[in-house]
Symmetry: C2
Subunit: 255 residues, 2 copies
C-alpha cells in the first residue's frame, strides 16, 4: 500500500466521455486513496461487507460474484484496467456481492465518503461516474439475456466478443487477438455453464473455424462471423463512436 501512482489516470478515464474542467480534475487527483496489490482470488470486498472505499483498477482483472446455497458461484461482472470496481455500491450501504482479483491486480482504493462528496459537489464528475455506473448496469442486463436465453455455444462466443472489445478499449489487445486471463471454470461461472461444457464448446467453436486458441489467447480468423454467430451487438457497451468504428472495421484484429 503506497500512495505513489496518482489518480491522474482516473481523471483521464472520466474525461474520455464527459467534459471535465481543470478544477474537477484537480479535485479528483486530490482524493485520498491508497494503492493496493492483490494476488489472484484475493478479496477486494466480501459479500455483505460495508465498503469504505471505491477501487479503480490500474492493472489486472477483477470479478464480482455471488454464491448460491448449493455452493455454486455466479460471476456477475468482470472488470478490466480502467474500470471502477465498486460503483454499484457507492451509494448503498452494503455490498450484495463479493469482489475478487482474477489475476495479479493493482488498484487505487479511493475513500468512498470523499468520492461521494466530490460527485455530489461536481456535476461533471457526477455525470461521468453515473455514465460509468450505467454502462456497468447495461452489461449486467446483457448478461441476464446471455445466461437466460442463449444456448451454451452462443453464450461463450458472446462472452468472447464482449472481451474482444473491452480488452481493446482497455489497450490490452495486441492487434490480432486478446488474452483473457480466466480459467474455463470462471468462464463457466460467468455464463452459467460447467467448466466441462465450456471446454467442449470452445473446441466446437474452434472446429467451426470461428476461433483459434493458444492457451488463454484468443483469435478469430473472421471476427464479423463470430459476432454474427454470437448474436453480439456492441450497443450495450456504449463505446465511444470513434472506438467502435475502429473496432467494427477490424482495424485491430478482425481478419
Amino acid at each position: 500500500m503506497s500512495p505513489s501512482p496518482g489518480l491522474e489516470i482516473v481523471a483521464e478515464k472520466l474525461a474520455r466521455r464527459t467534459d471535465i474542467t481543470q478544477h474537477d480534475r484537480a479535485a479528483i487527483i486530490a482524493l485520498p486513496h491508497t494503492i493496493s496489490r492483490l494476488r489472484p482470488s484475493g478479496k477486494l470486498i466480501g459479500e455483505g461487507a460495508h465498503p469504505s472505499h471505491c477501487s479503480f483498477i490500474l492493472s489486472g482483472f477483477a470479478f464480482r460474484d455471488k454464491i448460491v446455497r448449493s455452493g455454486a458461484r455466479q460471476i456477475t461482472a468482470v472488470m478490466l484496467p480502467g474500470d471502477f470496481v465498486d460503483l454499484p455500491h457507492l451509494f448503498l450501504g452494503i455490498a450484495d456481492q463479493g469482489v475478487h482479483a482474477m489475476t495479479d491486480l493493482v488498484a487505487a482504493c479511493i475513500e468512498a465518503e470523499p468520492l461521494r462528496r466530490l460527485a455530489l459537489d461536481h456535476p461533471a464528475v457526477a455525470r461521468a461516474l453515473w455514465v460509468e455506473a450505467s454502462i456497468d448496469a447495461a452489461i449486467n442486463r446483457e448478461w441476464i439475456v446471455n445466461v437466460g436465453r442463449r444456448e451454451a455455444i452462443v453464450r461463450v462466443a458472446h462472452l468472447l466478443c464482449e472481451f474482444a472489445l473491452r480488452t481493446a478499449r482497455a489497450g490490452l489487445s495486441g492487434g490480432d487477438g486478446f488474452e483473457l486471463p480466466m480459467t474455463q471454470e470462471q468462464m463457466g461461472d460467468a455464463v452459467g455453464l460447467t467448466a466441462v461444457h465450456v471446454n467442449r464448446v470452445l473446441r466446437a467453436l474452434t472446429e467451426m473455424g470461428l476461433l483459434k486458441r493458444e492457451g488463454r489467447f484468443y483469435r478469430s480468423a473472421d471476427w464479423k462471423r463470430l459476432q454474427d454467430f454470437a448474436d453480439f451487438s456492441p450497443v450495450y457497451l456504449y463505446m465511444e463512436h470513434a472506438e467502435l468504428a475502429a473496432r467494427q472495421q477490424g482495424s485491430r484484429w478482425a481478419a
Copy 2:
C-alpha cells in the same frame, strides 16, 4: 396525455431514502412532464430508441426486455408503481432494451434533459436518483445469479419472494398474499424457462405446500420456508430497515 396528477408522488418516493429540501421538492414538482396511459404490451421505449423522457410508474406494472436472434425474449426487469422506468438510460444516449407495459399502466413521463439538469444541480436529488438506479442494478445482478445458477423450481420461488416484498413495499399487497399480473410465459421469460416448465414448477411448489395460487394471486402458508427454499435473501433489494423488519416478521402476510 394530461398534465393533471402532479409529481408530488415522485418527490415522496425520493424523500423516502434521502433527505430532500423543500427547494428540491419544488424543483421536482416543477419538472415538465406528461401523463401517459398504456394498455398491456404497449411500448414505452423501443430497443435502440433515443429516449427523450424518463417515466415514473403511477399505477400498473411494466417490464424491460431484449429479444435474441432465435426470437426468444428475456425480461431483464419488472417495474412496479413507484419505480422509475428509464433511469438506466438517463445518461446514456440509446436504450439497449425495450420497455413495455405489462398491465394497464399510468406513468408520468418526465422530460429527460430537465431531469438530468435537475439531478446535476441538486445534489440531494442526484443522490436519491443514484440510489434508485443502484437498486435497479442490484436486482439485475441477483437475476443473473437466479438465471445462471439456480434450478428451475428455485428460480421461480425466488421470483415470487422478490415480488412478495416489492409489491408489499409498493403498497399492493393486501395482507396475506399478492397479485402478480404476469402470464406464466412472462414469468418464464424473466427466469429463463419456458412457460410450460414454469407451469409444472408452480404446481410442484403448490404440491410441496409452499405456495397457494388463485389465478395470479399468490399466497404462502409459510413464508419463511418459501424464502429458505428459494435461497432468497432480501439484502439486494436494499429496503429501508423499518420496511424490512416489518416484512421479515410476517406482519403482512407471512403465516
